[in-house]
Amino acid sequence: MAKAWRWFHQLGSPKFLFQKTGQWLPWIWAATLILLVVGLYYSLWASPIEVRQGQKHSVRIMYIHVPSAALSMVAYIAMAIAAIVGLVWKMKVAFAVTRSIAPVGAAMTFLALFTGSVWGKPTWGTWWEWDARMTSELLLLFLYLGFIALHASFSDRSKADKASSILAIVGVINIPIIYFSVKWWNTLHQGYSITEKGALNPAFQTPLFIMLAAMYLLFIALVLMRLRAEIILRNQKSRWVAEWALGTSAKGDKS
């Protein structure tokens, strides 16, 4: 327990976090690439096609649609948790984390929408359907963009951090409400949902799980990259940053 606390405190130190993430990143990237290669092999080549609903090969879009949709939600929750840590424990690094998750989360949300739309066209014959999940995803994208816009509108970074953290927390309280409302509204007006999935054929499960793992890792890797840049941005005047910059440029760029 005491060890866990010390770990938590050390993570609060930008220098420690920067060094540690620098050590972790190559491993995370390696694991990501391996999983991606395997996952793509399965999802694009080795997995069967869905004949039942006339989807045929377009079912392969699922292997990126589902992970990005899952990540878009998880990322927002993670952002809100970091925001709470930042506001309650006054941990500045947590704000850097929220700011780092936002663009990657927004990208995932965009990808979920894009792939959902492209998947919808061959399967249901339309690019856009006001279906519950798609609509929630669209609103989630607005929440992300609002967060980024709010953060960018302050000249004082600490104000930007605190204000956008409050927004993230209010947003996360509202996400279930939004989802529930949209779903209710959807059943009222259309009564069907294009992304509602039944029991998943086991043949689809393996590639999906591998792609889920790969995308999670990819997400973490990207967030850590952004976080490292954010830490340097926020600590430009610290001596260790200057030492790092001069040190690594002397050794040749390996970071």
Partner: protein, 72 residues
């Protein structure tokens, strides 16, 4: 999957499948490159500022308190 032909055209759905994968790839690669450029740029900036003369760096200020009996 039985043939390269099928792999590429995906039975008429090739455009949809491949565009999804391609856009995902481009977006994620864009983030990767963007973040990398950001870190590189910051590093350059830090190096440039580190080579500035020490005195030109903005310094924090101190409070100097003096009892003022001579006042007025």
């Amino acid at each position: 999957m039985s043939s390269w032909h099928e792999f590429i055209f995906m039975g008429k759905h090739g455009a949809y499948v491949w565009s999804s994968y391609l856009v995902t790839f481009i977006v994620l690669l864009g983030l990767f490159i963007g973040f990398r450029i950001m870190l590189r740029g910051l590093k350059k900036q830090v190096i440039a500022e580190a080579s500035l003369k020490q005195s030109e760096k903005p310094k924090a200020r101190k409070l100097k308190v003096s009892k003022a009996e001579q006042a007025n």
